[in-house]
C-alpha cells in the first residue's frame, strides 16, 4: 500500500474525493491527440495527394525523397533520399516528421497533456494514479525529454521552410507571382500559429534570456525575454491551435490534390 493509501495517512478508501468533472479534460485531450496521431500516421504513409501547385502539405515539406512529386524539391536541400530502402518503399514524410513530432512530444505543455491523458500520471490533480512505481524523467526513455532544446532548433528550421512554402502560395498553379487563394490563407494561418507556438516555447524563453542571472546587464535580451514571457502565458493555446492549423493545411492540400475541391483564387 503506497501513496494516499499509505499506513500513516488518513484512512480514506476513495482514490479521490473530487466531485467536479476532473476526467473531462484528460478525456478530451486523449480524444483529440489520439485522433491527430491516427490522422498523421495515415497521412505520413499515404504518400500521395500532398502537392497541388503551389501548395505542399506541411507533412511532406521539405520533400527530400527521389520519389517526391516534380516541383516539390527545395534547392537548398535537394532530394537526397531514395524512395525505398531494403526493398521497402518509404514515404517522404517519414524522413522529416521526427523533427516536428519530437518538438511536440518533448514540449513542456504537451508533456503535461499526455502524461495526464495517456499515462494517467496523474489523470488529474489530487486523483491517485494507477502506477505503483514512478521515476519521472530521471531514466530512459523519459530522460530524453531533455532533448527538447534540439528539437526546438530543428523546429525553427522547419518554420522557415514552411514560411517559404507560404510565400510560394502567393503564386498560382502556373507559378506566376501576385496571386492569392484560400490555400494562401490556410498556409498563412498555419505558419503564423507555428511561429507563435515556437516563440512562446519555454526553451525559447530560456535561450533568449531566462538563463541570465543579471537582466540589467543585457537590456536587449531582457526585452526579448519579457516579450516571450508574455507569449509563454498562451503557449498551451498556441500548441493546440498550431496543431489544428497544420492538420487543417494538410487536409486542405489533400482535398485540392485529390480533386475533391478546387483551390479558389481571390486574384
Amino acid at each position: 500500500m503506497s501513496g494516499v493509501f499509505s499506513p500513516s495517512r488518513a484512512k480514506i478508501k476513495e482514490r479521490t474525493l473530487r466531485t467536479d468533472k476532473w476526467w473531462l479534460q484528460p478525456a478530451i485531450t486523449f480524444g483529440v491527440l489520439f485522433s491527430f496521431v491516427i490522422y498523421a500516421t495515415f497521412r505520413a504513409f499515404e504518400n500521395k495527394y500532398y502537392f497541388a501547385e503551389p501548395l505542399i502539405s506541411p507533412f511532406y515539406s521539405p520533400c527530400l525523397s527521389a520519389s517526391c512529386e516534380p516541383g516539390t524539391a527545395l534547392a537548398i536541400f535537394g532530394q537526397p533520399f531514395n524512395n525505398q530502402y531494403f526493398g521497402i518503399g518509404i514515404s517522404p514524410a517519414l524522413f522529416i516528421l521526427i523533427f516536428p513530432l519530437g518538438f511536440r512530444m518533448t514540449c513542456y505543455y504537451y508533456r503535461k497533456a499526455y502524461y495526464r491523458a495517456f499515462w494517467l500520471s496523474p489523470p488529474a490533480c489530487a486523483v491517485a494514479e494507477p502506477h505503483t512505481k514512478y521515476t519521472g524523467e530521471t531514466r530512459a526513455p523519459l530522460i530524453l525529454q531533455n532533448s527538447h532544446r534540439w528539437f526546438f532548433y530543428a523546429g525553427l528550421v522547419f518554420n522557415l521552410i514552411l514560411t517559404w512554402d507560404t510565400i510560394l502560395a502567393f503564386r498560382n498553379a502556373e507559378k506566376e507571382w501576385g496571386h492569392m487563394s484560400v490555400g494562401t490563407l490556410v498556409f498563412l494561418f498555419s505558419t503564423t500559429m507555428l511561429w507563435l507556438y515556437s516563440l512562446s516555447c519555454h526553451t525559447c524563453r530560456h535561450t533568449l534570456g531566462g538563463r541570465l542571472k543579471h537582466f540589467s546587464k543585457h537590456p536587449v535580451r531582457y526585452k526579448a525575454w519579457t516579450f516571450v514571457s508574455a507569449l509563454n502565458h498562451k503557449h498551451p493555446t498556441f500548441a493546440w491551435i498550431s496543431l489544428f492549423g497544420v492538420a487543417g493545411a494538410d487536409i486542405y492540400v489533400r482535398a485540392v490534390a485529390s480533386g475533391a475541391i478546387t483551390n479558389f483564387y481571390f486574384f
Binding site: S8, R9, Y108, R111, K112, S121, R149, K213
Partner: protein
C-alpha cells in the same frame, strides 16, 4: 441569510478514521473554516484543526475540500451548490495526526537540505546593491506562504511515499530557483544538486502545484521549467557545456 449546510468531516488518527456527516448553520459570506469552527464549537468539541490568520497568509489551514487541496479560510461556502455536501479531509500526502491536522515536518526537513544563499565574499553586509529587474523573478517566489498545498498535490510524493527521500517537491524547487536566479548568490552547482540530490528530474510538469497555489505563483512555468532548462545547460547540452569551458558564460555555474 443563514441556512443549513451538509458537511462531511474526516475524523480519526493514524490508526483509523472515517468521514462523519454533520449539519451546521452557515451564513452569507462565510468560508469553510468558519463552518468548521462552528462545528467545533457546537458539535465536535475535540475536532482538531490547524489555523491561524484566517486571511490566506499563514498557510496553516491547508486541507482538502471536496478532494481539492485548498486553504479553508479562502474557500467560500457559496462556491458550492446549496444542496451540495462539502467533504473536508486532511492533506492526503502527509501522515495524519488527528482529524484535519497532518504532520508536515517532511517539508521542514527538505527545507534544511536546500543550501542557503551564499553572499559574495567581497561584499560586506550593507554593501550589496541590486537592480529591480534582477530580483523580480525571485520576488515572485518569496510570496510563498508555505501552506504546502503544492507538496500535497504533487503526485510524485502523494502517490509514491517511497519518493519522499529523494524528492524535495515544488515548494523547494521555487526556493532553489529563487536562489539560482538571485543576482548575488555565489553558490556553484545549485543546478546540479537540484537535479541529482533534490529530484528535479522526477517532476513531469503536470502543473498541479501551479493549479493549487493560493498565491498564484507560476511554480511550473517560472521556477521548475526554468530550472530544468538550466540543468539542460549543464548536463544535456554539449554545445553549451563546451562554450562554458572555452569562455566563462553567465548562468553556467
Amino acid at each position: 441569510m443563514a441556512r443549513m449546510l451538509k458537511l462531511r468531516i474526516w475524523r480519526g488518527d493514524s490508526n483509523d478514521g472515517a468521514l462523519q456527516d454533520v449539519q451546521v448553520e452557515v451564513n452569507e459570506g462565510e468560508v469553510v473554516l468558519d463552518v468548521i469552527h462552528r462545528v467545533q464549537a457546537t458539535q465536535m468539541g475535540d475536532l482538531a484543526v490547524r489555523w491561524n490568520c484566517k486571511a490566506g497568509k499563514c498557510g496553516s489551514c491547508s486541507m482538502e475540500i471536496n478532494g481539492k487541496p485548498r486553504l479553508a479560510c479562502m474557500t467560500q461556502v457559496a462556491a458550492y451548490g446549496e444542496e451540495e455536501t462539502i467533504t473536508v479531509t486532511p492533506l492526503r500526502a502527509f501522515p495524519v495526526i488527528k482529524d484535519l491536522v497532518t504532520d508536515v515536518s517532511f517539508n521542514y526537513k527538505k527545507a534544511m537540505e536546500i543550501p542557503a544563499y551564499a553572499h559574495p565574499d567581497e561584499l560586506a553586509p550593507g554593501e550589496a546593491r541590486m537592480e529591480q529587474i534582477d530580483v523580480e523573478r525571485s520576488q515572485e517566489f518569496r510570496k510563498c506562504i508555505e501552506c504546502f498545498l503544492c507538496q500535497d498535490t504533487c503526485h510524485v510524493i502523494r502517490d509514491h511515499e517511497e519518493n519522499k527521500k529523494s524528492f524535495a517537491g515544488p515548494r523547494f524547487f521555487i526556493r532553489i530557483a529563487e536562489l539560482d536566479m538571485h543576482p548575488l548568490d555565489t553558490l556553484r552547482n545549485r543546478k546540479k544538486t537540484a537535479q541529482e540530490e533534490h529530484g528535479l528530474g522526477m517532476c513531469n510538469i503536470t502543473k498541479c502545484c501551479t493549479e493549487v497555489c493560493p498565491e498564484h505563483i507560476r511554480i511550473t512555468d517560472n521556477a521548475i521549467i526554468p530550472m530544468k532548462e538550466r540543468v539542460v545547460d549543464i548536463k544535456y547540452d554539449p554545445a553549451r557545456w563546451l562554450g562554458s569551458k572555452i569562455r566563462k558564460r553567465e548562468g553556467i555555474v
